[in-house]
């Protein structure tokens, strides 16, 4: 059981800055995120794309913003629990007990949901029968590439994951790469490489085709693909891989009794607490009249939610407002050397 003052769900910019604000006022926190790294949408959706509306940063990328935020919370030694999704929530006296899908447990005074638009999950094939083959002959990510050696693999998708795996697996397997159009969104060098491999006969490329259906009993034996004119091709295959990027799912948060409106959690604007005492929501996942889905709004919401957490963590103490420029206590927490 991890005991701390506050559990932050989501390691995007709002969650990271909230950790900073908690640290400044002397509260401890830990952060859970379903991805394998901090940064949330900034890292997953647009690491290289510039952002122009972070106050005092005329331009920075999602990756730079994330790295700066991580740097800023370094003094507080915040513990991260990555690749974990929060599943269960239980009130135990005046504390919350939280469990993740990886069986990690937390005992906290309050919770800050900074979950963006939900946790990222792989986007799946639209055909129904794909489910029964999942994890046996159909995958959305690769954990052990050795199982594909000397097999026939059909890879769907046009981004970097699809291209990179097609290139790599073509060394040891027979690879079919199937994509819905002629253009690819992966980096140009990979696109060129795939075309070369195709010309050399080391990889079969099917563009303007999409999945039609999967055939097989326990394992996939054949995948049928169709083009825009409805023409169908049958491809014998032992494995099917789909790389269609990630989607965002609100998941178990929906079952916690929070007031949810259009996939967002309703909060007050005084301290961003939800309808449940001790549970706060900040960033893209919260809604209130006038809500702007901007990173800067998430920072503001995190600062106020952190102060809202104080009374649950330290019910017998009074929080005094202080500036980091002059507060001795805050500077000590930041490890500032005079």
């Amino acid at each position: 059981m991890n005991k701390t003052d506050v559990l932050i769900i989501g390691a995007g910019p709002s969650g990271l800055f909230c950790a900073h604000q908690l640290g400044i006022i002397g509260l401890s926190c830990e952060i859970v995120d379903n991805l394998d790294k901090a940064g949330g949408q900034c890292i997953e959706l647009y690491p290289d794309k510039p952002i122009y509306d972070i106050p005092a940063f005329p331009e920075c990328t999602g990756e730079e913003l994330t790295n700066n935020l991580l740097q800023q919370i370094k003094p507080f030694n915040v513990k991260f629990h990555l690749n974990e999704r929060v599943e269960e929530l239980k009130k135990v006296e005046d504390r919350w007990h939280v469990k993740t899908n990886g069986k990690k447990e937390f005992d906290v005074a309050s919770i800050v949901i900074a979950g963006g638009v939900g946790s990222f999950e792989p986007r799946k094939f639209p055909v129904k029968e794909s489910e029964k083959f999942e994890e046996t002959s159909l995958f959305y990510s690769i954990k052990d590439k050795t199982i594909f050696k000397d097999k026939t693999i059909s890879i769907f998708g046009g981004g970097d994951s699809a291209l990179d795996w097609a290139i790599e697996l073509s060394n040891t397997s027979k690879v079919n790469l199937i994509h819905r159009r002629e253009g690819f969104r992966g980096v140009e060098s990979s696109v060129q490489k795939v075309k070369e491999l195709h010309e050399q006969g080391k990889l079969n490329l099917y563009t303007k085709y999409q999945i039609d259906s999967l055939v097989g009993d326990k394992k996939i034996e054949e995948v049928k693909i169709k083009n825009d004119d409805g023409e169908i091709k049958d491809i014998k295959t032992e494995y099917v891989l789909g790389f269609f990027g990630l989607i965002m799912q609100l998941g178990p948060i929906l079952d916690w009794g929070l007031n949810i409106d259009k996939k967002t959690v309703q909060v007050n604007t005084e301290n961003f607490e939800t309808n449940i005492n001790g549970i706060f929501a900040i960033g893209d996942i919260c809604s209130y009249p006038g809500k702007l889905k901007l990173i800067l709004s998430g920072f503001h919401e995190g600062a106020l939610a952190a102060r809202g957490c104080f009374k649950y963590a330290k019910p017998d103490e009074k929080l005094r407002f202080e500036f980091t420029t002059t507060s001795k206590a805050a500077q000590e927490r930041l490890g500032v050397k005079k």
Partner: protein, 106 residues
């Protein structure tokens, strides 16, 4: 205002007057038309405001940016007439536009 006709997957037709300057996505979300998720809020960073545009309207729409085509790769069952509704900005030219909302967004 321009009339936008949204056909939802349950075979219902919603005809909505949408203010010029808003997107077809915003017109749907603000009027509670089901089937448009718009997770990213109109940033061309997801594909959950995907619609099928009626064929006769395809040529009249502004061309897709590269980013939109990239995102459509991730849409649920994309077709030739697929667009992201957040990229369709309402103008007089779009008065009467007919879009069909897919059975699901992801």
């Amino acid at each position: 205002m321009a009339k936008i006709i949204y056909n939802t997957h349950d075979d219902k037709t919603h005809t909505i007057d949408v203010q010029k300057g808003l997107s077809v996505m915003e017109g749907a979300v603000q009027n509670d038309i089901p089937g448009i998720d718009a997770d990213c809020g109109g940033g061309m960073a997801c594909a959950t405001c995907h619609v099928y545009v009626n064929e006769e309207w395809l040529d009249k729409l502004p061309a897709k940016e590269d980013g939109e085509e990239d995102m459509l790769d991730m849409a649920y069952e994309p077709k030739n007439n697929s667009r992201l509704s957040c990229q369709l900005i309402i103008s007089d030219e779009l008065d009467g536009l007919i879009v069909n909302i897919p059975s699901k967004q992801s």
